[in-house]
């Protein structure tokens, strides 16, 4: 259930360097507002509500998990240097009290355009060049995450991608809240809980021991599914709407994805074959040479 947005009064008091607070959206823990900085730049204020410390070990552990994730997300964004990844804004991450609630808050750049989910909802099939632009942007972002940071985004999906319309960065990846650095200790308190979005989750993540072999190829899978959906104007390669979670997991594990070439007969065979290959169940069958993929997309 989405959390209530904070009032402009509460936000003004906490962030005197920001003004023009406008609520964009809220999730269970995260609230997003548009703001103007003291330099006159438009940014996005992200506020993550931390679970209150009720004194129990479980509550304390959960709070540490969420705090750790927020810290890692912002540290990662601060260190990533890719036009295809959202950039941090003027307000550095800090723990702050907002109306009696403990939160982590920071700003990111405000991107023009709208998220890819909204674009796909228009049910328009893009041309080949645009499909390539999207996939190329995602592969660039995956490469930036993995090469230096050994990090898997784990939540690539249309809602986490912004279609900016900008020439030098037409698609930008957002929301690194559940990004996972394979070289660092895990933060997840409940070992049976896998943070994910079921329809974009790579099949290997349903293996209880997935962390042992998790790599950027899980992101490539999600990039393949997302690009497929974009290319077809909203057809998911696996899903029928309204499936139960169990049914969705079964599809992720066992159902052969639809072949893009059967839906988009106008796209080149090389492109449809590449996108299909990214959605293979066995991670080793997904092309692992990111530079080679980018060359193929030129």
């Amino acid at each position: 259930m989405p959390a209530n947005p904070f009032t402009p009064d509460v936000l003004s008091a906490a962030f005197p360097e920001l003004s023009g607070f406008g609520h964009i959206k809220s999730g269970t823990f995260k609230t997003v507002h548009s703001v103007k900085t003291s330099c006159g730049r438009d940014e996005v204020l992200k506020i993550i509500r931390l679970p209150q410390d009720s004194g129990t070990d479980a509550a304390r552990a959960f709070r540490e998990q969420e705090l750790g994730r927020a810290k890692r997300e912002t540290a990662l964004l601060a260190d990533l240097d890719s036009p295809y990844v959202v950039r941090l804004g003027m307000v550095s991450p800090s723990i702050i009290d907002l109306g009696g609630e403990n939160c982590v808050a920071y700003t990111e750049e405000l991107l023009p355009g709208r998220d890819l989910e909204a674009v796909i909802a228009d049910r328009i099939q893009p041309d080949e060049a645009d499909v390539k632009l999207l996939l190329s942007a995602l592969v660039h972002a995956i490469q930036a995450l993995w090469t230096r940071h050994k990090t898997v985004h784990r939540d690539i999906k249309p809602a986490n991608i912004f279609a900016t319309g900008l020439q030098d960065r037409p698609y930008v990846l957002l929301d690194f809240g559940i990004a996972y650095n394979v070289d660092e200790p895990g933060l997840t308190v409940n070992p049976s809980h896998i943070p994910h979005t079921p329809l974009y989750m790579a099949p290997e993540m349903l293996d209880p021991n997935f962390r042992e072999s998790l790599s950027y190829r899980a992101d490539l899978y999600a990039a393949g599914v997302t690009t497929f959906e974009f290319a077809t104007g909203g057809i998911h390669p696996l899903a029928k709407t309204g499936d139960s979670l169990a049914k969705t997991y079964t599809r992720v594990l066992h159902q052969e994805p639809a072949r893009l070439a059967t839906i988009r007969t106008d796209l080149t065979k090389n492109l449809t074959a590449l996108i299909d290959q990214l959605m293979k169940k066995n991670p080793a069958l997904r092309p692992g040479n990111l530079s080679l993929i980018l060359t193929q997309l030129k």
Binding site: S213, S215, E256, A273, K281, N282, A284, P287, G288, L292
Partner: protein
């Protein structure tokens, strides 16, 4: 799709003839069967006479773990006039990264002084399981070879040896995890030199256990999908299926020990090997048959003949015996080239379909042969057809095609 000669004992001009006839694209020398001086001279000659040829040296380092066995057959790998990089090793030696690094540097450094067209790195054979100490050592060799080439290399490509026993392929999940790992190496080689070790003791050149060929094809396909060049050693009549799965090159030689890979050829053996009966490779049957069988079949079943240029070396007036072992080798290379050409057309799905069609045609001929009352020997029989059909289907499932 390239066809290379898998060099071994008793060349006698076969490789040069194969290159002259346009049947071969190059050669993989086996270090055991050629002295350092001779190797250097042969490579120089090939580089001069066939500058476009593929010229590789299999360092056969995998024999190092059996080198200390009394009676081990190591040829030019040991002794006064031996290749200098080769040493006997125990497994515990190779558990140390420093030893692996040193062996790689020595092996690649040796090849740098030779006119090979690419380097082949050393490795051991993963004989039992990917999830084993041997598997770990093999991965260390793979990673370290790529690092070493940046020091010892000179721009020539590196092929990393990946040698696997058929027994290690039993666990599909382990294989898939291994493939994932090696295709995510930070500093990958240009390609792999892939060897699959036979585990049975038969002399037949094909791997006849279930789930072996399909997984060998999967390795080829996965490596190719990931942008690697793949050279398969010791493939012989299995070449077309590996080619269909994505192999860039296959290699085979003239004796059985050059047609399927096994460490047994380095191990001590009490008995003497017998000279093999000469054979004819039939494209239509997708198999080689004894020359005597050819003689029995050729009049009634002319489709068994390839109608290619080296058919005339099997003179019916001589009982269809080939006029020399060189002719036998050339005929085999010619037939394998033809089989590869039939198999590899278009994408993987199309190539697999071509293979299946070829198997159907072969089966139909075998049925007619049987109906005629002729019995083929085990090694020449139709036993491969159903097995390979099953393996193609298993590969399609594994590769999600």
């Amino acid at each position: 799709m390239q066809l290379l000669a898998q060099h071994g004992f008793g060349n006698g001009g076969k490789i040069e003839s194969g290159l002259d006839e346009g049947l071969l694209d190059g050669v993989i020398f086996g270090a055991k069967d050629i002295s350092p001086e001779r190797l250097s001279v042969r490579l120089e000659q090939l580089a001069n006479d066939y500058p476009q040829s593929v010229r590789l040296l299999d360092p056969q380092f995998y024999a190092s773990l059996i080198a200390s066995q009394p009676g081990a057959r190591l040829g030019s790998l040991v002794g006064d006039n031996s290749h200098p990089y080769f040493e006997a090793r125990r497994r515990r030696d190779l558990e140390r990264d420093t030893q692996v690094d040193q062996d790689i540097m020595n092996t690649l450094g040796y090849q740098r002084g030779l006119p090979v067209s690419a380097f082949i790195s050393p490795n051991i054979v993963i004989r039992r399981s990917f999830d084993s100490i041997e598997g770990t050592i093999a991965k260390t060799f793979l990673r370290s070879a790529s690092d070493a080439i940046s020091i010892e290399g000179d721009g020539r490509p590196l092929y990393s040896t990946l040698a696997i026993s058929a027994a290690a392929l039993n666990d599909r999940i382990e294989l898939q995890n291994f493939l994932q790992e090696i295709t995510e190496m930070e500093n990958p080689p240009e390609g792999f030199y892939l060897l699959l070790e036979k585990i049975d003791s038969s002399i037949a050149s094909s791997l006849t256990e279930p789930d072996i060929l399909s997984r060998w094809m999967l390795i080829n396909h996965t490596l190719k999908m990931n942008g690697f060049q793949v050279i398969n050693g010791y493939t012989d009549a299995l070449s077309p299926y590996l080619a269909a799965a994505g192999a860039d090159a296959v290699a085979t030689g003239w004796y059985n020990t050059q047609k399927s890979f096994s460490l047994r050829k380095f191990e001590p053996v009490p008995e003497f090997a017998r000279r093999p009966v000469q054979r004819y490779t039939s494209v239509a049957l997708l198999k080689s048959i004894r020359y005597t069988e050819l003689n029995d079949l050729r009049d009634s079943f002319p489709e068994v003949m390839n109608e290619l240029s080296f058919d005339d070396r099997y003179d019916p007036d001589e009982g269809s015996a080939p006029d020399s072992t060189t002719s036998e080798a050339l005929q085999n290379w010619e037939a394998i080239n033809a089989m590869n050409g039939l198999a590899v057309q278009g994408d993987v799905s199309t190539s697999l379909e071509n293979c299946r069609n070829a198997l159907d045609r072969a089966e139909e001929i075998y049925v007619r042969i049987q109906g005629y009352g002729l019995t083929m020997r085990d090694r020449s029989s139709a036993a491969h057809i159903d097995l390979i059909r099953d393996e193609l289907a298993a590969f399609e499932e594994l590769a999600e095609i």
